[in-house]
């Protein structure tokens, strides 16, 4: 059995997409890596004292400051003359990244630190019980964007974090999915080969919060990509350098296994709006395979 740098024995829920992605990220980064981790599920289930799942140096401080803590680590390594040999990764969930941690991330990106920021996007505050975040999709049923007579779920689309990162003029921005592990690991390695600030956002299903069977994590993540809802794209120096093209499936295929979207499936109007999100992505990033028959 190969040795992983994120080991078994942690207490993540079965089918946790974030745990799978975290292992893929750190295995791709390798042992010469220091990680600063935001508060959240990943931190809680991997480092309950006196145990730790991390075989690399790892630090957790607070919810919103992993990008700033990583900036201090990077500055210290430069001072010690060790930065060239050590990767620095800051990571957190979607709430810790797109909401409460956005300022620290923006500062880190703007200052030009040689750091990879990884956002594990499971589309709500899962650690506190599935509350809406800035990366919660349109119409999603969460505990703070519940469905009711006056509400059809989350009232806003996802905050465009990759575009926000891109606007800082940084050399590398990419979106990956836990359902495409080779693509994910290639992007981690690519990012770490580039000097400067990098942003990687990874789609990671949460069976508990999304209300799908834990055995379906991989399939659900794959469907997000194949419907065009989560485009796998890559920007180098501000230019779109790769995209995964698809034969687009209707969004119902993605919505069906998930309890959080149950109210959409029976409502043609909501479904139409949801399909538009996918259609817009497909058009914007030219995701449709050209040789498709239709």
């Amino acid at each position: 059995m190969s040795k992983h740098l994120f080991t078994s024995g942690h207490t993540a829920c079965s089918g946790c997409g974030q745990a799978m992605a975290a292992r893929l990220v750190i295995d791709a980064a390798g042992p010469n890596t220091i990680v600063a981790n935001s508060t959240g599920c990943l931190e809680v289930f991997s480092t309950k004292y006196p145990e730790s799942a991390w075989e690399i140096p790892w630090v957790h401080s607070l919810f919103e400051n992993s990008a700033a803590v990583a900036s201090g680590i990077e500055a210290a390594l430069i001072y010690l003359g060790k930065k060239d040999n050590i990767n620095v990764i800051a990571q957190g969930g979607d709430g810790g990244s797109a909401d409460i941690g956005l300022q620290a991330i923006s500062g880190m990106l703007e200052r030009g630190h040689d750091i990879l920021y990884v956002c594990y996007d499971n589309e709500a505050y899962m650690n506190t019980g599935v509350q809406r975040s800035g990366l919660t999709p349109l119409e999603t049923n969460t505990t703070t964007s519940p469905v009711g007579n006056n509400s059809s779920g989350n009232w806003r689309p996802k905050k465009p974090m990759p575009e926000i990162a891109l606007a800082h003029g940084i050399p590398y921005v990419a979106i990956a999915s836990v359902a495409f592990p080779q693509d994910l690991q290639r992007k981690v390695k690519k990012a770490l080969s580039i000097k400067g600030p990098k942003y990687l956002q990874i789609h990671v299903p949460c069976p508990l919060g999304w209300r799908h069977e834990p055995s379906l994590t991989y399939q659900v993540a794959k469907l997000a990509v194949e419907t065009g809802l989560y485009p796998l794209i890559e920007y180098e120096n501000g230019v779109l350098s790769s995209r995964r093209q698809i034969k687009p499936l209707p969004v119902e295929e993605y919505l069906k296994p998930q309890g959080r979207f149950k109210h959409i499936l029976n409502n043609p109007e909501l479904l139409k709006k949801f399909q538009e999100v996918a259609d817009n992505n497909i058009k914007k990033y030219n995701l449709k395979l050209e040789n498709q028959a239709d």
Binding site: P31, K48, P57, N65
Partner: protein, 393 residues
């Protein structure tokens, strides 16, 4: 070498001599001159630190946290709202047992917004697990940074130190300061040797989750360390005296208290004014004195007891409030004497110098005058009665 220097520049000079590997700060009045000067040192190549210009105080504290966790000495400075914005990071740094020195240029807290000096900022964060030292003058502020690093990085301590200096009065005031040489500083303050650090050669997890089975012991350990720290400070200041020739207790300072009948307890630059008033009143035969608190955290209860136990009347000056309760320093000084056989007949509490209102020699004389057998609680000095007459009906 003695130089006529602004307080902020003197602090920048001593920080330079302490050779932090990483400096990070966000500008806030009246801290700015300190970090501007340090940035200039780095720009000139006089100082080899990494200077990280952050987007907020929250990140300034987080950057130095990350730097110290990586095994490097670090420095930051802030004031007022900036200190509050750092608040949760400050608790975190102490909880993680990371040694650090920060300058707090003491300033009032909004609202109303006010950039001038009082001590509400650091006093409000007295529970965050940092040592807090209050300087009376610029020389003491300079020296407390050296003592602070030495104490903070001691293997038996490993806790952060906040050097508090009154905004403008000390940060922008100009005094003659004796700055040490690099050789002296290196002798007193060796290179930082971390107990633990983030290092791929020896991977460790820092900042783990402490559940109910473990959390309390971590907090208890800090509480116990602070008790021991009170014993360590005089040893460090004795070494300091050997190298630099200046004597500090580092905990409290007594001024003409031996035969005193009335003593003021105070922290910070106001102590200079109080000493002048005492000298004047002593000439007139009044038996008055001062107990200066240097170390607010750890709180020097025993030293306070020893100095004040036979003093009939004590006035505690607070430049901060605990709104809705007793004044912060006064309530703690009173707590020292609860249940003790020997204690002052009167411990009165006075509020002075809020939001930069001058504390004049007359203010101090008024406090001595009001220090009679009737105890006063949270008595505001130098209030303007004409401003209290608004009718909102």
């Amino acid at each position: 070498m003695k130089e006529f220097l602004e307080g902020s520049l003197a602090v920048a000079e001593i920080v330079k001599l302490c050779k932090p590997g990483v400096i990070s700060a966000y500008p806030i009045t009246p801290q700015t001159h300190i970090v501007e000067e340090l940035a200039q040192f780095v720009a000139n190549g006089e100082l080899g630190s990494q200077f990280v210009n952050v987007e907020s105080e929250h990140s300034a504290a987080s950057v130095v946290l990350g730097a110290v966790a990586s095994g490097v000495r670090a420095y930051t400075a802030t004031s007022s709202q900036g200190l509050f914005y750092m608040g949760e990071v400050l608790f975190n740094i102490a909880g993680m047992r990371l040694p650090l020195v920060m300058t707090c240029a003491n300033r009032a807290i909004s609202a109303p917004i006010n950039i001038w000096n009082d001590q509400q900022d650091s006093v409000s964060l007295r529970d965050c697990g940092w040592a807090q030292f209050f300087a009376e003058d610029i020389q003491e502020a300079v020296d407390l940074h050296l003592i602070g690093y030495r104490l903070s990085e001691d293997k038996s301590v490993m806790l952060p130190v906040m050097v508090c200096m009154d905004g403008f009065a000390l940060t922008h005031g100009i005094e003659t300061v004796d700055l040490p040489t690099q050789e002296q500083v290196d002798k007193f303050l060796p290179a930082y040797q971390p107990l633990y650090k983030l290092d791929p050669a020896d991977p460790m997890t820092l900042g783990a989750l402490g559940d109910p089975e473990y959390y309390a012991e971590g907090r208890y350990a800090i509480q116990e360390t602070f008790k021991e720290t009170l014993g360590l400070i005089p040893k460090i200041t004795a070494e300091f005296a050997e190298v630099f020739g200046r004597n500090y207790s580092g905990i409290t300072e007594e001024y003409r208290t031996k035969d005193a009948e009335r003593v003021i307890v105070a922290m910070g630059s106001v102590c200079g004014t109080i000493k002048e008033v005492i000298d004047e009143l002593r000439v007139k035969g009044k038996k008055v004195g001062l107990l200066k608190i240097v170390s607010y955290r750890p709180f020097p209860a025993q030293a306070i007891y020893e100095t004040l136990k036979n003093i009939p009347r004590v006035a505690v000056l607070d430049r901060a409030l605990s709104l809705g309760s007793y004044a912060p320093l006064a309530s703690e000084v009173k707590a020292v004497f609860f249940g003790k056989k020997k204690q002052p007949k009167v411990i009165s509490s006075f509020i002075v110098g809020l939001g930069g209102r001058d504390i004049t020699k007359d203010s101090i004389k008024e406090i001595f005058r009001l220090l009679v057998n009737k105890e006063r609680s949270c008595e505001f000095i130098d209030l303007k009665p004409e401003l209290l007459k608004e009718n909102y009906e």
